[in-house]
Amino acid sequence: MMTTALAVLGVLALLFGAILGYAAIRFRVESDPLIEQIDDILPQTQCGQCGYPGCRPYAEAIANGDDINKCPPGGEATVRKLADLMGVEPKPLHEEAQNAVKKVAFIREDECIGCTKCIQACPVDAIVGATRQMHTVIVDECTGCDLCVEPCPVDCIDMIPLIETAERWKWDLQAIPVRMVEAD
């Protein structure tokens, strides 16, 4: 009786083990989808402010256990999403990234000498120009990553805040009266 029970259980264990083993091979997930998910959350500015050469390398680093608060362009929202995804506590961003304003690069065109250095630096090909011709930034494509500012030999690139338009305007809650509470 005892032996029969053991045998049956043993056979069952072997059977399930075989099924699980087969399933593991048959339904194996090809790549690590976690990296893809993290990469989707990151803002894709490719600015390298995290210390990695682009958003995907940083995504890989996060998947391997790096900090989630190294992305200033993404801001608080990105950190929160990453925390949700990774199941860790959201950490505050570095101080300077706290209240970052959206900016885009602007080339002072009469000072541009046409050296193409900024074109080479732009990760998203948002600068047009040719050798010895003045360059200009495609505002709609600029991610505001700052990478073009450093290589410019004549310092003719400014990062200017994006102008607020009526479409981009976020309603302010002026309807709510602000009242001073007496401290007691």
């Binding site: 682009g54 000498i113 998203v124 030999p153 004549v154 976020k170």
Partner: protein, 739 residues
């Protein structure tokens, strides 16, 4: 089971959930005739008054325009032009406070009417003979955008492929005070009906429903008379309830069908236009009158004569209010739009645009400012009032928590922002404001997400391109290497054969031959020695007396020597330091160069340049404290070179010096160096700029007998390059210092 059309024909009405019954306050207004506003002093016409993109501005400051002349060019389907409401002068194209709750400045054309009201040429159309495309083109070019409030371009809305079952004309003005459409229907019913006929011609609907609230009996009878028994047209009075004038609510009210979330009425075979829009269509097609003016309800207890006013587009609100006897309180609120959905204006210079239906200037008693917001007591009054069957409380909490996922789950984007929830809220929570903020936030996030996606795609495309370029380069290099190897291997056997042959011939040579060769060599050496001796012995004067060239050289030599001595002494006197030495050596080198190769002016020039460069280098190396010495060093070099290269050489030297590019580069380098030096040791006096200036002028002016230098600074491009190079150097230097 009756079909929908049969049910509609039978006069059946449905109901939509929620809704509120605020006091309408329209009775007095709707009885008055429409007043015509005298032309204002200035009209502010925003370039964009509809949903979509602005057209390109066609006019400039100082242009004279005729009434009805297009001011912008609608060059794509998402834009409609704006027109001059009257003839006059364009004062400016500038930024002006926009009629938008944000009050951000937007581009505006400022028009000063000349009072003549001169029309441009007009081309009325006979619409039954026109194609749909022609009519849509006319509607677009007349600048017609939905007059109900949203401002969606009418030509886009009408250009549908789907079949239109029911054309609904919206005469339901459900917001309190507003009676502009009511007044229009009373006075212009015939034109509205003509407009509906044109729309029918375009859309070919099976039936037309004209919906008017039952508190507007005059409008109902006027429209019924104007329709004059047309079939199947129905004028349908609907019960007065807010917000029955909303597109989706009115469709539900009239047909019992709901427009699915995120879809348009055309998806269920309906099309809706405002009465104002159909009036504008009739005007545009039949009389070629673009959208130049609109009826605005000007109401509120601070006005002596509240009434409906026909105002040109671009009229400042202040003109309208004063026309109606405005007696402002302090503080006075002026609202654009109705009391439910409107917004407070920041100032009264804001213009009337195509979608402005009401200006409200209420007293404090009439429309008190929003009270203090209190906590939600979960009374569910808002949920009962919501015409879209949403859960306003849930949405409020999720809005406060910025939980976009939950907001989406609770269908925030189905909210029509009617304000019914805020109206009924006993805690005076401005619910709609919260929803608007949340919506703007979500839209921004969506925009960001889209942008991130694009950036990613561009980044990946770039990476791919760089990779491909790298591979291509690699391949080319390999190919070249292979070619080279092939060439070598091909020529190798020949070389070997040649070497073998040489060895063989050497072996064949007899010892006698070798000796003969040796003797020959000796003889040649002897000859050379003799020639040398002859050359040195020959007195220069006697040989070159007849040769003016040679004479010039010697003269130059003498002059240079004299000069050198003078320079050396003066330098040592003035500077009294080792800094003179580089100068001296430079002059010396120049001299020797000049003496050796004076016959070749080109070489002399090069030598001079080299010497100059050397002098500069030395000066830099010895860290001379100012640019002054540098100039001094450069000066003798220049003059030396110039003088050494005598008359024939002079022009060449000039050409060398006149190469403005090189000179400019040299100047830039000099400037950069000077800057570097001044930066390296902060001079107590403001020597930096002065030096830089003198540097800039000096290398140019040094060989002053030539024309070249004058060309130099006149080339602005090169000067700019030089300046840029100098700036770059200075910057680099600064950076290294900072580090």
């Amino acid at each position: 089971m009756q079909s929908l059309l049969e049910q509609v024909a039978a006069g059946l009405l449905w109901r939509f959930p929620g809704g509120v019954h605020p006091p309408t306050r329209k009775a007095e207004l709707s009885k008055k005739p429409i007043a015509s506003l005298p032309l204002p002093d200035k009209l502010y016409i925003p370039l964009r008054q509809h949903i979509g993109v602005a057209g390109h501005c066609l006019v400039h400051k100082g242009d004279h325009v005729m009434k009805g002349q297009p001011l912008t060019l609608a060059d794509n389907s998402m834009s409609v032009p704006v027109h001059a409401p009257t003839s006059g002068l364009i004062l400016a194209v500038t930024e002006h406070t926009s009629p938008h709750p944000s009050a951000l400045p937007e581009p505006c054309i400022v028009l000063e009417p000349d009072g003549l009201d001169e029309w441009r040429e007009r081309e009325p159309m006979h619409y039954p003979r026109c194609s749909t495309e022609q009519l849509l083109e006319r509607i677009q070019q007349s600048g017609i955008a939905g007059m109900g409030g949203a401002g969606f371009p009418t030509h886009l809305k009408s250009a549908v492929q789907q079949h239109v079952e029911l054309l609904i004309i919206n005469g339901v003005e459900c917001e309190p005070y507003i009676s502009a459409d009511d007044a229009l229907m009373q006075e212009q019913a015939d034109t509205i009906v003509q407009g509906i006929e044109i729309l029918c011609h375009i859309l070919e609907p099976k039936a037309v429903l004209i919906a008017i609230e039952d508190d507007k009996p005059a409008a109902i009878s006027a429209m019924q008379n104007a329709c004059d028994g047309r079939q199947p047209w129905y004028v349908r009075p609907v019960p007065t309830k807010y917000p029955s004038g909303g597109e989706k609510q009115l469709i539900q009210l009239l047909t019992g069908r709901e427009v699915p979330a995120g879809r348009r009425p055309i998806d269920i075979g309906m099309m809706m236009f405002n009465v104002g829009t159909s009036f504008a269509v009739a005007q545009a097609v039949l009389h070629d009158i673009p959208l130049l003016s609109r009826i605005v309800t000007v109401a509120g207890d601070t006005l002596q004569h509240p009434q409906n006013v026909l105002a040109p587009i671009g009229t400042p609100v202040s003109d309208l209010l004063h026309f109606c006897g405005f007696q402002p309180e302090r503080p006075q609120r002026v609202i654009m739009g109705g009391p439910m959905m409107g917004f407070t204006l920041p100032d009264l210079s804001v213009p009337i645009i195509k979608t402005t239906n009401c200006i409200l200037a209420p007293t404090q008693q009439e429309l008190p400012a929003a009270g203090e917001e209190m906590d939600c007591i979960r009374c569910t009054a808002c949920a009962e009032a919501c015409p879209a069957s949403l859960l306003p409380q849930q949405l409020l909490w999720f809005s406060k928590a910025k939980d976009t996922e939950k907001l989406d789950e609770y269908n925030l984007f189905d909210c029509i922002e009617c304000g019914a929830c805020a109206y009924v809220c006993p805690s005076e929570i401005p619910l709609v404001q919260y929803y608007r903020v949340a919506k703007a936030e979500i839209r921004e996030q969506q925009r960001e997400a889209l942008k991130a996606e694009q950036a990613k795609a561009r980044f990946e495309a770039r990476q791919a391109r760089l990779e491909a370029e790298k591979l291509e380069r690699q391949r080319r290099n390999e190919q070249l290497a292979a070619e080279r190897a092939a060439k070598q291997s091909a020529s190798a056997p020949d070389a070997v054969a040649a070497a073998l042959a040489r060895v063989k011939s050497q072996q064949q040579q007899t010892p006698g031959d070798l000796e003969a060769i040796k003797a020959e060599r000796e003889r040649k050496k002897q000859q050379a020695r003799e020639r040398q001796a002859e050359k040195t012995e020959a007195p220069a004067d006697s040989v070159s007396a007849t040769d003016p060239r040679q004479a010039a050289i010697t003269a130059a030599l003498a002059r240079a020597k004299a000069k050198k001595q003078a320079a050396a002494t003066s330098d040592s006197e003035r500077v009294q330091s080792q800094q003179t030495e580089p100068g001296q050596t430079a002059t010396e080198s120049v001299e020797t160069a000049a003496a050796n190769e004076a016959s070749d002016p080109r070489k002399a020039a090069i030598a001079a340049a080299l010497a100059r460069a050397k002098a500069k280098k030395q000066a830099a190396a010895s860290a001379s404290d100012n640019g002054q010495t540098e100039q001094e060093q450069a000066k003798p070099a220049h003059t030396g070179a110039a003088q050494a290269a005598a008359e024939p050489a002079q022009t060449a030297a000039a050409s060398e010096a006149s190469d403005p590019r090189k000179a400019a580069i040299a100047a830039a380098i000099a400037r950069a160096k000077a800057k570097k030096q001044t930066e390296a040791r902060p001079a107590p006096e403001k020597a930096g700029p002065e030096e830089a200036k003198s540097d800039q002028t000096d290398p140019a002016s040094a060989p002053d007998e030539h024309i070249a230098p004058t060309e130099q600074p006149s080339d602005p491009r090169k000067a700019a390059i030089a300046a840029a190079v100098a700036r770059a150097k200075a910057r680099k230097r600064k950076e290294t210092e900072l580090k």
